[in-house]
Symmetry: C2
Subunit: 238 residues, 2 copies
């Protein structure tokens, strides 16, 4: 299953260019390359479990990962999706807490693991990185506050439309502006866990969006045909 692979060179990593590590010095990157561990994970494997102690930082080189909390009623709430260039586990690491969520692979992934000491040392010598990380955590916090507001004030229908638009922003590929495919394999159940509703409700609403011509299905993926209509439904900035 999880297969150790040869360390990818951080200094050459394409995913890094768009990540928080984009300004880290060559020297420090080489050190990271030496310190870290790279692993190939298949879909369904879990990177870490809620409640356990973080031993380092995960960095996604390729693939897709979901971060979610399990709830008492057996469901799960997806907190965020991580893709190439994203980091996982820094909140627990910097907050000196246990993981508050679990992380599971959605699409086969190459994941680098940077041991805690190595990461902490890097932060100590690269104050620019530390500052950027702080900025990023603050931004995340802002996003979460927005999500809280959305959850308590908007209907499932509005939230689903908004979620589709956000997924389009992040995972949209090919086609002109009016027809972009969301290139990530999300089950209806996953989608429901992001929106915060029941799977059946998502299925029903997607069918509706489809028959209204706002979206279409391509295999397991969704194509956004009419983003404006979805924006209107989601009550975006209105």
């Amino acid at each position: 299953m999880a297969k150790k692979i040869e360390n990818l060179a951080c200094e050459l990593c394409q995913s890094r260019k768009f990540s928080l590590f984009n300004e880290v010095s060559q020297e420090h990157l080489c050190q990271l390359t030496a310190d870290k561990n790279c692993v190939y994970h298949k879909k369904g494997q879990t990177l870490f479990y809620e409640g356990t102690r973080p031993l380092g930082l995960f960095c996604i080189n390729e693939g897709a990962v979901k971060v979610y909390k399990s709830t008492s009623n057996g469901k799960e709430q997806i907190i965020r999706l991580a893709k190439a260039g994203d980091f996982l586990g820094y909140r627990a690491l910097l907050g000196e807490e246990h993981y508050a969520a679990s992380a599971t692979i959605l699409e086969d992934a190459k994941v680098c693991f940077i041991p805690k000491e190595s990461f902490i040392h890097l932060l100590a010598v690269d104050s620019n990185l530390y500052r950027k990380l702080m900025k990023s955590v603050c931004h995340e916090l802002g996003l979460m506050e927005e999500k809280v507001t959305e959850l308590s004030q908007k209907t499932v229908r509005e939230r689903l439309a908004h979620t589709l638009l956000m997924l389009r922003e992040t995972y949209g590929i090919d086609g002109d502006d009016n027809s972009r495919k969301i290139d990530i394999a999300l089950s209806r159940e996953d989608l429901a866990s992001i929106v915060g509703t029941a799977t059946e409700t998502v299925i029903r609403l997607l069918s509706e969006f489809k028959s209204d011509g706002h979206i279409s299905f391509e295999g397991k993926k969704i194509r956004i045909l009419n983003p404006k209509a979805l924006a209107k439904i989601s009550d975006f900035y209105a």
Copy 2:
């Protein structure tokens, strides 16, 4: 209304002892005392508005403040409540963003305002404070993630019970363990904005909790008579 008052000495401030500034050196505290501005605010006044640019950090010396986002349908979602010793505005400041929420006085308050430059300088020279702040922001993020999960998975009834228990933790005074009064003046509307529901629903549920003997009303305030029952209702850790 807002009345400038003589600067309170940070180095002598009792509220500070339980705040993030509890380990800041005497020297730096004196500098803060010189740099800051203290203002007395009456209930209903607003410290800052969503969408504006942060010019500094607010520190609550006394009183209660609500931080909330206004939504398109005219309602508001309370993101957090701040009391003596709490800071406001650091997320926007450190994230280098505009305020994502507004802050309004719930109970007459003494609020100190530390200019941005002064705060940034303090962070630059006191790395321990910076680290503590990072830790705090990460912790906040964890709390928000929990709130997101709670909002999408629990009923209003469960959330209200949980909210009452949290308010009891933070604002509970006098009485033995089975009878603590929540010593903060929250209107039903405010409570609804915290829980994320309609005012009428809160009123109805509170009446129900009252007739079930779980709570009682003392003036505008609520006394928790049976925390265990509320914990059960809130499905806490179950």
